[in-house]
Each structure stands twice: as structure tokens, then as C-alpha cells.
Amino acid sequence: MSHQVLPGEIQEFLRTTIQSLEQLEVLIAIQRQPKKAWTPEDVAAVVGLPVGIMEESLDGLIAAGLARHLSSASGSPTYCYEPRTPSMGRAVAGLARAYASNRLDIMRLMSTLAIERVRSEAANLFADAFIIQRKKEPGDG
């Protein structure tokens, strides 16, 4: 399936950075108010999805370099939108514009990407079974 309507850089950004539809919804929500400290409950109220999924999605955005943890006195985690690089910020801004004007195509692309991921996960699982010993990550014992 081709997605000619969506600009190539947005397609690439969704393919490489955004793992799920929930994560996309969370990203769109938090980038609207970049100065706000978001709790998962705040995001859940805006997006309309369960809090547990919000935490997972926010952690995914941190791993992707699009958000960061804020220190919180209350103990509950808070997050803010903070792209790691200016180019990521521009990509998110473009994505937000496309999301507002062309949501259907973005949904279609996300569905296609989700199917591709499921397929490649099966292949990765198979390939991983033949790894005798993993390389040590920096920071491992």
C-alpha cells in the first residue's frame, strides 16, 4: 500500500520513531503544550485511554528522544515534551499538522506499519534464537 499523500519525511518518522497508535496520540497531545508537566493521568484524560497505556507510551517517547522525565516532589512520574534534536521537533510539528488535516492516511499508515512490525518480530524472534551469546551492552556488569 502506498501513502503518497503523506510527505515522505512524515512516513519515515512514523516508521522509525513511533511504535503504536497510542504513542502517536500521546505525542500529539503533549506537543500541543510543550511547557506543561504531564502526569499519565493528565494525558489519559486528554487522549481518553487507560492510564497504564499512557505510562507505557510516555516511556516509549522518552526512549525515542521525544520527551523527558521531570523530577516530581509528589512521587508520581511527570513528563514533558522535549525533542532531542531540532530536526525531531520539526518532524513532530509536521506530523501534528498532517494529523490535523489528514488523519485517515496516518491511521492507515500506522496500521500497515503495525502489521509489518508483527511480521518482522516473528523473524527477529527466530533469528534471536540462534544468537549464542549477546554482546555486552555498555554499563553491563
Binding site: 524472534l125 527466530f126 534471536d128 534464537a129 540462534f130 549464542i132
Partner: protein
């Protein structure tokens, strides 16, 4: 030389079966279990080949070898169909 090839085939398929079984216990993906069972069958097939050709040359194990090899592939085929439904 032929002995070495038969032996290496048996060792490789046994190694694959063990690695896939280890992968199953780690990831709990049944596709890996079916694949491991298939490679166990292929390993048995290769061991039978070694025995047939080198240890008991007067006795033909062609049919048992064929049954074991076919069984191994049928296990994988069954697993693939089972997991997809």
C-alpha cells in the same frame, strides 16, 4: 570424508534444535518449539543416516530415515498451521 559430512549434518541439526529450544524457554514463542521439534527430527534423520551408511552397511534404514525426516517436516507444517489459526 563422507563420515565427517554426515556427522557435521547431525551435529548442526542437533545444535539448531537445542538453540531453538533455548529460544522457546526464553521467549515462550511456540513457533520456536515447533521448529525445535522439527530440527530434533532432522537430527534423528541425520543420525540414522550416519548409522545406515557407516555402522550397519548391510541393513537398509532408508524407509525409517524417510519416515523420520517426513515426520519432522510434518511437525513443523502442523505447527505453522496451528499457530496461524
Amino acid at each position: 570424508m563422507v563420515e565427517l559430512v554426515y556427522l557435521l549434518c547431525a551435529l548442526t541439526s542437533t545444535g539448531c534444535a537445542l538453540l531453538l529450544l533455548r529460544g522457546y524457554f526464553r521467549a515462550r514463542s511456540r513457533l520456536l518449539l515447533w521448529s525445535s521439534l522439527c530440527f530434533m527430527g532432522l537430527s534423528a534423520n541425520n543420525i540414522l543416516l550416519f548409522v545406515d551408511m557407516l555402522l550397519v552397511p548391510n541393513l537398509s534404514l532408508e524407509i525409517p530415515r524417510g519416515i523420520v525426516g517426513l515426520g519432522a517436516l510434518l511437525v513443523l507444517l502442523f505447527g505453522l498451521i496451528w499457530e496461524s489459526t
